[in-house]
Amino acid sequence: MTAPILRCERMSMRFGGLTAVGELELSVAEGSIHSIIGPNGAGKTTVFNCITQNLRPTEGAVWFRGGRIDGLTPDRVAAAGISRTYQNIRLFRNISAIENLLVGMHLHLRSTWWGAVFNTPATRADEGRAHEEAMRLLAFVGLRGRGDYLARNLPYGEQRRLEIGRALATQPKLLLLDEPTAGMNPNETTRMMRFIEDVRARLASPSC
């Protein structure tokens, strides 16, 4: 077996006297799909928050692709290649769907603010590429034609997929989906499962 892409060593998260996550050992192989299951309040989301450094784990270490990521700021974790969705959808509600995707691509765009002001050829090319890529992603998550809707005006299922699309826009090596099938009926759940396999096929990136 190759070296795992993600490894948590004795990762713990304590809030005062409450231990939400205790000495978690976890390793994830590249290209695999895993599920973290547990009853409500078991700490599933806290594990995600600790991996992405939204919360700083109180003990232990998190290794990702050979480097330690605990203690980094979340934006650097994202740059390292981890992206996530949220249990209760957290889109940028007041901008359009396609702009949500473009925000997700932030890391991979090179245009600067002065480039934007002077509308330099480099910026124009960069924006053009970003737009094309966003259109491709929009089609991939099945939202073609919805790009100009404000995110908050999309129906629930589409918001879920847009959120996944936004996470994919960062070109992650590891995608963390927090309860991706919450509120879905069995039929929709099956389709979501197929969709997740699709995502792996496309990105060859494992999903939790």
Partner: protein, 562 residues
């Protein structure tokens, strides 16, 4: 007619009456009475009373309660009469009790105005009868078809504008020959003449009719590109009007527009911070002060001056220093969010003012006396001395600022700011560097304010700490809110409405903040998105393609596996 409907109508009428009493008691009513709309016919104060009655009649009962026309008319009349009764009671009380020693504004002059100089009995009757009539008109307008109502309103608004701003309009038309003849048809020395008012009304009504018949219908058939071209045309026309306005209207308008321009500059800056990045900043005036003081210290002929540079060198220096202060300001409050950020920045703004005022900094900054004798800028041998010339400088500066803001808004940085505004944590989890983005917003916002401050310094040729009150920050914030958060045209509109109009109606100065408050409350209640809300940018499709695409991919749950 149901009992509750009658009660509602009376209650609403009384409410508008209470509003009238308030206006009378704070002195606004009498002040408005001193300005004619139509000479010797109707004053602005009388028009206010009438419009109270009309408003009471118009909203007398909810449509759900009474929907038949006669019933609504009767209830409108009742509501208007109730408003009239309240004003009549006020008149009687003022007549009997002479309360001026306690309520300064409840004076004999007010009594004369309320009773139309007819004595208490007849005057009260006129108030009640007039109120009833106004209420009837209000209810009638409400149930009349939209086209008719719009036409009447357009006419009335045109007459009020033509009457209230008669001095300025006459100033613009102060030529002999055909222009003078037109002017003399509408105006005499004191203001708008009755026959002039009728003509204005008719012209505006015809104009409105033409617009809804041709302009409005035409609009629906435009495609996206034509609409965009239309918008560009409108913006160009607006800039052109602004540019020639001072030439036509003279120095006074020039001065007012110059002030509006400065606030547009500051508004554009704060709009980057608040409207795009969602950083509520109440210490914005600090950057304005830094810009003004930097220019003062670098150019003035005073003992405090550090250098005697030309304005054109001092201006970029002011902008750079403002940016530096913006970044320094931003650092300590980076981790502070939302409402707390507003309080923290307010504190920082005050710190700057207090430092400037302090004895400690007095040897450098001149303390309360400020820095005097700042020279006006030269441009290629021409002295930009008059307000009108400085107005053009401001116009160019605002134009540049608006262009920069517009480009940024549609850029990678602009999207990062909007993401930050909507959800800071998620933005960070997507790889956006919060520190850099926030400092960028502070720095650029500060740059615009510094530029405004720099021009402000040469406009006044002196700077004092008292010019940099918290109130300026609040004014700028208010104009953004009224104009529409995050909207560039909104900034312009907000500045004109909140800074320009009160300046033109000089005698309102004392009550300026009363109107501000009222405007803000009304806006928040009925139009929270602002006068000119920012639009959703279309990136994927143009309007026409939308329907087709929706048909094609109607139900979209996960794309079928390929």
């Amino acid at each position: 007619m149901p009992h509750t409907a009658l009660r509602t109508a009376i209650a609403r009428g009384l409410m508008f009456g209470a509003g009238g009493v308030h206006l009378a008691a704070v002195g606004v009513l009498l002040m408005l009475h001193n300005r004619w709309i139509v000479v010797d016919t109707i004053s602005l104060g009388q028009a206010t009373l009438v419009s109270l009655g009309i408003a009471a009649g118009a909203v007398a009962v909810p449509r759900a309660l009474v929907s038949d026309a006669p019933g609504r008319l009767v209830l409108g009349l009742v509501a208007g009469a109730s408003t009239g009764v309240v004003m009549a009671i006020l008149a009687v009380l003022v007549g009997w009790l002479h309360p001026q020693s306690i309520f300064i504004a409840l004076s004999p002059d007010l009594l004369k105005m309320l009773t139309s100089d007819l004595g208490l009995g007849a005057g009260s009757a006129v108030l009640i009868g007039g109120g009833a009539l106004a209420g009837l008109i209000g209810a009638g307008l409400r149930i009349s078809p939209v086209g008719f109502r719009g036409t009447v309103l357009a006419g009335v608004v045109a007459v009020v504008v033509a009457g209230v701003f008669q001095e300025l309009i006459q100033l613009m038309l102060q030529y002999e020959g055909p222009v003078g003849a037109i002017r003399d048809a509408f105006y005499d020395w004191d203001g708008l003449m009755p026959q002039g008012a009728v003509m204005v009304f008719v012209l505006a009504a015809i104009g409105y009719q033409l617009w809804i018949r041709f302009g409005a219908r035409h609009r629906g058939t435009l495609d996206d590109r034509q609409l965009r071209r239309q918008r560009m045309m409108r913006a160009a026309v607006a800039v052109l009007v602004l540019a020639i306005m001072p030439v036509l209207a003279g120095a006074y308008i020039g001065q007012v527009l110059m002030l509006v321009g400065l606030y547009i500059l500051m508004g554009l800056g704060l709009n980057l911070e608040v409207g795009l990045a969602g950083l509520l900043d109440l210490g914005f005036v600090a950057f304005f002060a830094v810009g003004a003081y930097t220019t003062a210290l670098l150019t003035a002929d005073s003992p405090h001056a550090l250098l005697h540079l030309s304005f054109w060198l001092a201006m970029p220096a002011s902008v750079l220093l403002a940016v530096a202060v913006g970044v320094v300001f931003g650092l300590p409050v980076l981790g502070v969010r939302g409402d707390y950020l507003a309080v923290a920045t307010m504190g920082l703004g005050e710190i700057v003012r207090v430092i400037v005022l302090s004895d400690f900094a007095a040897p450098l900054l001149g303390g309360a006396q400020g820095v005097l004798q700042i020279p006006k800028p030269h441009l290629g041998g021409v002295l930009l001395g008059s307000p009108v010339q400085l107005f053009y400088l401001t116009l160019v500066a605002s134009g540049v600022a608006a262009f920069v803001a517009w480009r940024l808004e549609n850029s990678r940085q602009g999207r990062a700011w909007m993401a930050l505004r909507d959800d800071e944590d998620v933005a960070q989890a997507l790889g956006i560097n919060l520190v850099r983005s926030k400092l960028m917003a502070y720095g650029l916002g500060a740059a615009f304010a510094g530029l405004a401050g720099s021009i402000f310094a040469v406009m006044l040729t002196s700077v004092y700490p008292s010019s940099f009150q918290l109130l300026i920050s609040i004014n700028v914030l208010a104009l953004i809110i009224v104009g529409g958060m995050g909207s560039l045209p909104g900034v312009v509109l907000g500045s004109i409405a909140l800074i320009g109009l009160p300046e033109l109606l000089r005698e309102f100065g004392e009550y300026r903040y009363l109107f501000y408050g009222a405007v803000l409350i009304v806006m928040m209640r009925w139009k929270p998105e602002g006068l000119w809300p920012s639009e959703v940018r279309r990136r994927e499709l143009h309007a026409g393609d939308m329907a087709a695409a929706l048909d094609e991919g109607a139900d979209l749950l996960p794309a079928e596996p390929r």
